[in-house]
Amino acid sequence: MMRFSTLVKHPADWMTGGQGEHGAVLTSRIRLARNLHRHPFPGWAKRDQRAAALDLMRPAIEALPAMKGGFSQELGDLSSVQKQVLVERHLISREHAARGDGSAAVIERRQTFSLMLNEEDHLRMQAIRPGLQLSAAFAALSELDTTLENSLQFAFDPTLGYLTTCPTNLGTGLRASAMLHLPGLVLSDQIGQVLQAVNKIGLAVRGLYGEGTESLGNLYQISNQSTLGESEETIIRRLERVISQVANHEQNAREKLLEDDPEMVADKIGRAYGVLRYSHIIDSKEALNHLSLLRLGGSLGFFSPETVMLCDSLLMDIQPAHLQLHSGQKLSPEERDSIRAEILRSRLLSLESPDSGILSKEEKNL
């Protein structure tokens, strides 16, 4: 089985793939909740019952062809920094990271599948893909689920569907979500309107970092709330439609910003570049917000297109646990801020200053 250090050595493909026609969509994620028939749910099970459920699931999951050469650890055997790194990579939930013995994480080699054992449900399975690929992610995960059904008996009721610890996940047990980068909508003050519209059709929207409506790094997550009464395909189709509409709005907003106020855009991107390239102390809020603008610059042609991918991997690498893992020791918040700045400076060292030639090109076009 794979070691932790090997697992996290490289960013997964999906972490740096948010390019192409849906540049606003970083990743697509599918989660399925499953439970073992007649075994008490993890939150209610006694220690030995939880261990028994784990002993039943773990070998079956490790034996999956997709999990060959993958990572598998009981959470009690991981340090809190290691668990936090997995959280920052979206491979396990924060809730799961708080657990220890009796719970486990099994992660596919390339980090495209990750399975949480004895989370809130016995099994929370996840597939992640770059860009807008909810259908593909679901197809892959559903196949894995079907294979598991050969060896595990999942709790299922013909009327209520897959039975889950919390009734909010009943039915399909499906949570489909996408992470979106929406600086254009934020800068042009349209974000509130758009998110409200998304909310109105029963989808959940939240900032990826930060509380409430505030979102650091202009990153948002859109997901379904209802899991019962509609098929997986219906849920996913609606989400994909809405997400591509939001991505289109974002594209339009960016174009309009460049047209109406190119100087403001160039100024923001230029300042972000300056701060990230030359600061020595930077907290995660400031870093996220500037990286967001740098990423925008990459999409708009101020920097080379690869800059977008660079920003996506930096988003992960400047998180607190990643910094601690990188430096190999426990860090105070002050130390984190200076190591974060150091990492940003070195990774952006070869990034050329923004090419505002794009502005004059735009002008010529007009």
């Binding site: 028939h37 099970a45 009721d157 039975l163 499906l174 019962l228």
Partner: protein, 169 residues
């Protein structure tokens, strides 16, 4: 102000409506992190409040020996009671959905787009049940074969069981 969990200075303050009541928790940075409070998604104040706050209502994972004082409805499979359900708004095991079917119907009304499942049905479920049944059958035949000393037949049955078990594993 001090953290509710330890004596450190509290820097994280949370207020949330839990079943119509305002609840407040104060935490230091370490405890907040440990409890996943800094993540707005994976966290519900109810869990912090119920899960081991001094003087709190007790952890979700304990009190399986509790007996329901009310109408005494209790899941035969896992011992989960109606009171437990009212407290945590979650269930104890898959059989609880049958035990508390009335409550389930009330809870899910308006929660989802519908009240009955549309979508994937485990195909494996059928196959697995069929196979387990078949193994049971073979086992009793094996016993018969052994007691009637037809060892050749017994060996054949044993191999068949082994094959089925392998597919299962």
């Amino acid at each position: 102000m001090k953290c509710d969990f330890c004596d450190q200075k509290a820097t994280v303050f949370l207020t949330q409506l839990v079943e119509g009541q305002m609840k407040k928790v104060c935490l230091c940075e370490a405890c907040a992190k440990e409890r996943g409070v800094t993540d707005p998604t994976g966290f519900s104040l109810a869990d912090v409040l119920l899960g081991g706050l001094p003087g709190g209502a007790g952890s979700i994972t304990m009190s399986s020996s509790a007996v329901a004082p009310g109408n005494g409805k209790k899941c035969d499979t896992c011992g989960f009671t109606l009171d437990d359900l009212r407290r945590v708004r979650r269930f104890g095991c898959s059989d609880c959905y049958a035990t508390f079917s009335e409550e389930v119907n009330q809870m899910i009304r308006g929660m989802h787009k519908g009240v009955s499942h549309v979508g994937k049905v485990p195909e494996g479920l059928m196959a697995l049940q069929f196979r387990n049944q078949r193994i049971e059958e073979l086992r009793s035949r094996l016993e018969q074969a052994i007691s009637s000393e037809s060892y050749e037949e017994a060996a054949g049955i044993r191999d068949e069981i082994r094959n089925l078990d392998e597919v299962k594993g």
